[in-house]
Amino acid sequence: MKQFNEEESKYAASAKAFRANVTRDLGNEELRSNFRGAMDYLMAKRKDAFSSEDELEVLREQCKLIKQRCLAKLPHLLEQLEDKLETNGIKVHWAETITEANEIIAQLIAQKKGKTVVKGKSMVSEETALNDYLEERNVECLESDMGEYIVQLAKQHPSHIIMPAIHQNKQQVAKLFADNIDGFEYSTDVDTLIQQGRTILRDKFCQADVGISGVNFAVAETGTLCLVENEGNGRMCTTIPDLHIAITGIEKVVEHLSDVPPLLSLLTRSATGQAISTYFNMINSPRKEGEKDGPKEVHLVLLDNGRSQAFADEELRQTLQCIRCGACMNHCPVYTRIGGHAYGTVYPGPIGKIISPHMLGLDATSNLPTASTLCGACGEVCPVKIPIPKILLRLREESVKPKSDKPQVMQGQGAGRSNVEALIWKVWALVHKSPTLYALSMWGVTRFRFLMPKKLGGWTSVRTAPKPAAKTLHERLKSKQEKRAKQAKQSTNTASR
């Protein structure tokens, strides 16, 4: 068994509370209508962006193969990336756990005596709960993506990986601003709200000592960090402060620069239906001699946090193809209804259900793979063709396998195993293997059907209890056949008379 993740993240606890979270959020009508509206909007946008079905399918196949190639070469590409980045003057750090990543970042900031950090959107830094870690060390870490800023102000977490504040409507944001920002007068005008955010954050960009960002693609061939964004806060964080620290998962590396255009094209169109984002920012080095701006130091932190566990299994490795477009959650009937927070994990929705078990262990997340209707929408829209439904089934299997079964591919294997359930299936298998036992049990079930209880836990809370038929199908067919044979005999008798 591979060892990682010694520390229990705060997300593990909230993932464990999945069922309670779902009950809480399903009952919140405002939340449900916010998600419904947003998902309908995003689905329509994506549909409009792919006018040619043919182009979409060719691109998906191509991008799937690109990501699979890059994963097949992953360790070599990581070394090449490190080599190129260091040649370009960007320092590379490695972290197996979230605590290691946070510690590296905290120390890089401390070395520069940094006090104020501005952060561009980075889900990996959410994964490591970096803000809390830095705050405990007296470093102010301000989110600068508008959605993230709102979420931080509300002391919440992102409910969507692309649109973090999608669970709030403008009235809620207006109230949040009025309650928390001095001098802001309640207004639901979105322009006014954004301009308010802009004013505050521009001041922060101007003052910050450190900028932290994520990475969408890290190109091994050239040592390039690529960032996709619309707002310009990513450019601010990576251009204005003296120190830029980028953090990303090890799966974000691509081999060639030429791998980027098809991936970028699918990413933005799948995510928000845009042909391209407003900005595509390609960072190759810190400020060079004679240049007038840009950070003097650039660092990249490469985080594992369970990814190498997924990597070790051929089927589960496909999870790492993900380019974090969010399309799977936009099209997920479960996500749309329960919302992003119910999952309790950093990454919600279908991708969250298949990646979180590697990050938090199946112990904390064994409920997640079961929270799916297996309708298949996620797999159909995924731009890199991750077979999400299949992986969900596989994770269900891993979570009910006996704890001791070898080989162990997942931390927390067997965490979802219930002895009663296991016993039921054992008996079921036994009965179905022996014709005598099968016939006997069927006879019993039909003859004693009046013993069927009226209440069957959750099943009967919204349904009536099932009742076995008076006779088995076999018996009915048999008697039907006998009746037919008798009739046939009678008619031949009459005819011959």
Binding site: G37, Y41, L42, D54, V58, L59, L65, I66, R69, A72, L74, L78, H93, W94, A95, E96, E100, E103, I104, Q107, A110, D145, M146, P164, A165, I166, Q168, K170, V173, I194, R198, L201, R202, F205, C206, T222, N230, E231, G232, R235, T239, I250, S258, P261, P262, L264, I276, T278, Y279, F280, M282, I283, P286, R287, G290, K292, D293, G294, L302, S308
Partner: protein, 233 residues
């Protein structure tokens, strides 16, 4: 402090060893020649006029203002736009100001009431100036992409990265003759993998966000207005 930095180097090198060892154990013996062929989508070829039309329409869809003009006409266009916006200060590259650059004529032809602010300073002690006293900026561009309505900037010491980012209004000069069909073909044609500068930025409109209830708002953090001066001769 020395102690601490030794710490992170120790964390990092241990993590590096473990991660790479785990990954390598899984790919040992992999035959990279046997990977399946990746077939790209072949986009149709368009004429220059069609590409140009696409470029303009995509930019306009994304709320950029596209003004077709000539080299001689730029100064007048900028002057008029600035007057309409009630702006009298324009930040521009140092060389432009010095007058030994292609934009010399532009600079010289601007209305006399427009005050030029050359970007001849390091950002280090001048952030306030950049953020608070530069309402508009002028930059050139390297080339552009038709399919997505994208302008490619290749910032350097003359036209720094923040020139196209911090001032709320961004004028950018685009030469219609340097238009590429799409990003993939541009990279290949210009051999980007051989040499990239500190930073390359692709811009496809003014800064925007839809983070509040999917309602588009412009001017989130970067320029609120992107005014494209398209030289088409």
């Amino acid at each position: 402090m020395t102690n601490k930095s030794a710490d992170i180097n120790a964390i990092s090198s241990k993590a590096r060893g473990n991660i790479l060892a785990k990954l390598k154990a899984e790919v040992s013996g992999a035959d990279y020649d046997k990977l399946p062929e990746e077939i790209p989508y072949i986009y149709p070829e368009f004429s220059h006029e069609e590409n140009l039309a696409q470029f303009i329409s995509e930019l306009e869809k994304n709320h950029a203002q596209v003004i077709q003009t000539t080299k001689e006409g730029i100064a007048e266009v900028i002057s008029a736009e600035l007057a309409a916006l009630n702006i009298t200060t324009l930040l521009c590259g140092e060389k432009c100001y010095g007058g030994n650059d292609v934009h010399r004529d532009v600079i010289n032809g601007l209305d006399s009431n427009i005050e030029l602010q050359p970007y001849d300073f390091s950002i280090d002690n001048n952030k306030e100036l950049l953020f608070n006293e530069c309402p508009a900026a002028l930059s050139s561009s390297r080339c552009s992409i038709a399919a997505t309505g994208t302008i490619v900037l290749w910032p350097d010491e003359n036209e720094p990265r923040s020139l196209s980012l911090v001032p709320p209004v961004h004028f950018v000069i685009v030469d219609a003759n340097k238009l590429h069909a799409d990003f993939a073909r541009l990279m290949a044609a210009e051999q980007w993998h051989d040499k990239l500068p500190t930073n390359v930025v692709l811009i496809s409109g003014p800064s925007k966000t839809a983070d509040i209830q999917q309602t588009l708002a412009y001017g989130a953090h970067g320029p609120k207005a992107l005014i494209v001066l398209l030289l088409n001769s």
